[in-house]
């Protein structure tokens, strides 16, 4: 049994922010702000293009975009070779920085950048993709989104918005309110859940984009409790989203087969997928248990601590998370049932 502790252990992995955005959207301006503002963080920067970053003492490295296929022609398995090399070298100087920021070229595809952090267990154990931040130029974004590309050529502006966890809608001083409303609608049609931060001259409150844990489900839920249940989406003619909400547990092998077929036949059409899966026999996180039994996470954590003390459930620690067997949900259900009955003065078993 794991000894209960009052606090879950901290995630010691280095957070990585990916800064993307179309040419001229203000990435370098934002980068300069991030590097010069007094936030107390030591940030290592990996640059894809020559910016005008003139900051003393910052660790700035250049890289040339190199798409590397992990297996033959599989669109879902492309990583950025340049990043793998540089990240490996950076991790040997781990003590020199607290955060990594990757600035990509305006035309970079965000998919291989994101996949780089999930493709290799050594990278995933040391680094945590914190958020993909996309800068959007309010004066030119509609023109970029509407640009018709030749058959088979991706519209990068659409992809960068589809992949974003945070969008900095920059240069709002150059357009009127109706244009901002239209741009917001267009962004929401491509990526309904994204947080949009309006800005002028890339002036934003940095905690809105740094160390936001956008890839961390518990933090996403804390910010947007409807994240898992919201399935209403507006539709764009080119990019749409699909939500699948099922009760019960999934057979991992059948799910893998289904995902394999989906990626093989529709891989090129899928920008991004997110999900919480209850796999049969797999351990459950506190978030999943809370969803399963319909209780607040803090209440579930409290109950689980009691159950652990009584040796009724065991939980193993994994980074900041603690994972439990599926039967913990059953115990919690029973506990809730008892509490409700005790409150009503009824005794009995579920």
């Amino acid at each position: 049994m794991t000894t209960p502790t009052p606090e879950e252990p901290r995630d010691e992995r280095v957070p990585v922010t990916v800064l993307t955005g179309f040419l001229g959207s203000g990435k370098t301006t934002l980068l300069n702000r991030i590097l010069t503002e007094q936030h107390g963080l030591r940030i290592a920067v990996i640059e894809n293009e020559f910016g005008e970053v003139g900051v003393d003492d910052a660790l700035v490295l250049d890289s040339e975009e190199e798409i590397f296929e992990m297996n033959n022609g599989c669109i879902c398995c492309t990583v950025r070779g340049d990043l793998i090399r540089i990240l490996g070298a950076l991790m040997r100087r781990r003590e020199k920085f607290d955060h990594i920021l990757i600035e990509t070229t305006g035309l970079a595809d965000p998919a291989p950048v994101a996949q780089t952090f999930f493709m290799d267990d050594e990278i995933a154990a040391q680094l945590r993709l914190d958020a993909i931040v996309t800068l959007v130029d309010a004066a030119h974004v509609l023109q970029h989104l509407d640009e018709v590309k030749p058959e088979g050529v991706e519209n990068e502006a659409v992809e960068q918005i589809a992949f974003a966890d945070r969008i900095v809608l920059n240069k709002t001083d150059l357009v009127d309110e109706s244009a901002i409303a239209e741009i917001t609608d267009r962004i929401r049609a491509i990526n309904s859940g994204v947080q949009i931060i309006p800005a002028q001259h890339a002036e934003i409150y940095l905690p809105q984009v740094l160390d936001v844990g956008a890839f961390d489900l518990e933090r996403v839920l804390a910010e947007d409790p409807s994240f898992l249940t919201e399935t209403e989406h507006q539709h764009d003619t080119t990019v749409t989203s699909v939500g699948i909400d099922l009760t019960g547990e999934l057979d991992e092998e059948r799910l893998n087969r289904w995902l394999g077929t989906l990626l093989r036949t529709k891989g090129v059409d899928i920008f991004r997928s997110k999900g919480i899966l209850a796999l049969a026999g797999a351990p459950h996180s506190v978030t999943e248990l809370a969803t399963e039994v319909g209780m607040e996470q803090s209440a579930v954590s409290h109950q689980l601590r009691l159950l652990r003390t009584l040796s009724l459930v065991t939980g193993r620690r994994d980074g900041r998370n603690r994972l439990y067997d599926g039967h913990a949900a059953q115990f919690l259900d029973q506990a809730v049932h008892h509490i409700e009955h005790l409150r009503l003065g009824i005794r009995g078993t579920p």
Partner: protein, 89 residues
Amino acid sequence: MPLGARPGQSPQLRELRQSVRRLLGLDDDTAVVIRQLACAEPGCPPLETVIAVLPMNGQARRWALHTTAEEITEDDLRTALLTPSPEGA
């Protein structure tokens, strides 16, 4: 990482990575990425192990072994890595 796995280093992959480094005599600046991937080609076993070697300066190389990482023996690895024409990047 299999589906549902949380980040953490697998001891098997770590060992495999060390063997790759030793057999190819790689320096610390060379990144080695090992990943088990579902193979989409007909007739392939469901999982293949892809090994990528990315030196800081120079061409990246990649090998695909048509078996799970767990089943790869030192001999399999030596034969695959020392074959004269690895699949390029």
